[in-house]
């Protein structure tokens, strides 16, 4: 009886060990929200009259490395003295405030440096919320390599 219990316990443990990695990665239900492949190149989303293009360099986009965020607009901002900014986070999970402050480097081009941190949960879906002062917000949801 004792041996049977040990065998049963070992079998359950083995089954769990084999199944767990799949269960953990399947937990990233936010993958289906991805609207942008930043590994491939810049992404463009419409924001009322404007079109916002986000580019992250270097590619592919990896966590825990210094990244350059470039935002290009098609229309001038109403208050051109105030630069846009990006808030980095994960959909459905509070990762704390991580803001990339952008600076104008051209007429309609803004750049800033930031880091996408790594989440030990294994979830790799991140979002960059680009805010245009007095112009609204748009969310780029993308995959990050860990």
């Amino acid at each position: 009886m004792k041996h049977l219990r040990i065998l049963l316990g070992a079998a359950l443990l083995t089954a769990f060990l084999l199944a767990a990695p799949g269960l953990i990665s399947a937990g990233d239900k936010y993958q289906e929200m991805i609207n942008c492949d930043l590994h491939a190149g810049p992404c463009t989303l419409a924001l009322s009259e404007n079109a916002v293009t986000l580019e992250v360099i270097p590619r592919p986009v990896k966590a825990m490395q210094d990244l350059l965020f470039r935002v290009t607009l098609t229309e001038k901002l109403p208050h051109s003295t105030v630069a846009p900014y990006i808030d980095l986070g994960m959909p459905g999970m509070n990762m704390g405030p991580n803001r990339v402050q952008l600076k104008a480097v051209g007429d309609l081009v803004y750049e800033g440096r930031g880091v996408i941190v790594r989440c030990p949960s294994g979830r790799r879906t991140w979002q960059a919320t680009v805010t245009l002062p007095d112009g609204g917000q748009t969310r780029f949801i993308f995959d990050v390599i860990y």
């Binding site: 443990l13 769990f16 060990l17 767990a20 990695p21 953990i24 825990m64 490395q65 210094d66 994960m90 999970m93 509070n94 990762m95 704390g96 405030p97 991580n98 930031g114 880091v115 941190v117 790594r118 989440c119 030990p120 949960s121 294994g122 860990y146």
Partner: protein, 230 residues
């Protein structure tokens, strides 16, 4: 730019919000392990010492990152250490679960030492009892190194504060202070989880206690798997 006082408040409130929104899920199994394993003993001082240790590590990391002016540089150096800590915490949780369920004949390192016979055992038991509370401090110091997204985010802010400060000394102090504020903010949520797990009725029912032990083992195994995938 935000004033120093505002930044500290922001970090404290961020820690508080992240504590309830993130830490409960990620670090909950650790504090639950402590609570369940302490049995009839008060959880207050062990938990306090654990959090003190954890915050001390955050403060040290904050100072380090602020002095370096870069999170990525420091993170690259401590990545393997963090992986080791994650494996250790997973193994620790599994062992505690096994001991709680009575499937492992090891003395409960952080729990009560009942019925010691003879003066040597009694003396040793008392010594271990003293150690059992104190041991939570180095445990907190070590587990403060656990890789954690919001901690990394807070460290990013510390690195920026370090760069924005007028001198290296002020940068170091700012980085340490901000991480201290962040760490303190995370304490209420984890204390609440520990207190819920400490509820008498939960511990008094053998079946619930054993289920808790099994869930702890599962959580520990997930920790280990995550460590190898990290």
């Amino acid at each position: 730019m935000l004033s120093t006082k505002t930044l500290y408040l922001l970090y404290l409130s961020t820690g508080f919000a992240v504590g309830f929104g993130h830490c409960i899920g990620m670090c909950g199994p650790i504090v639950v392990t402590f609570s369940l394993n302490l049995k009839e003993k008060s959880i207050f001082f062990p938990q306090l010492l654990y959090h003190l240790g954890r915050i001390t590590t955050y403060v040290a990391l904050g100072g380090l990152v602020a002095a370096a002016g870069s999170l990525t540089m420091v993170a690259a150096h401590i990545a393997s250490l963090q992986k080791g800590v994650m494996v250790f915490s997973g193994v620790f949780i599994v062992f505690m679960g096994l001991a709680m369920a009575g499937w492992l004949p090891i003395s409960r390192i952080f729990a009560d030492y009942s019925s010691p016979r003879g003066w040597i055992s009694r003396w040793f038991g008392r010594l271990l009892k003293i150690k059992s509370n104190i041991a939570y401090l180095p445990l907190g110091l070590l587990l403060g190194l656990l890789p954690c997204g919001p901690v990394y985010t807070a460290l990013l802010g510390s690195a920026r504060a370090g760069m924005d400060a007028g001198s290296a000394y002020h940068g170091l102090l700012a980085g340490m202070g901000l991480m201290g504020a962040f760490g303190m903010g995370t304490v209420p949520a984890l204390f609440l989880v520990a207190a819920v797990a400490d509820m008498g009725w939960l511990k008094s029912r053998a079946i619930i206690y054993k289920t808790g032990a099994i869930l702890m083992m599962v959580a520990g195994i997930i920790f280990i798997i995550r460590a190898f995938r990290f």
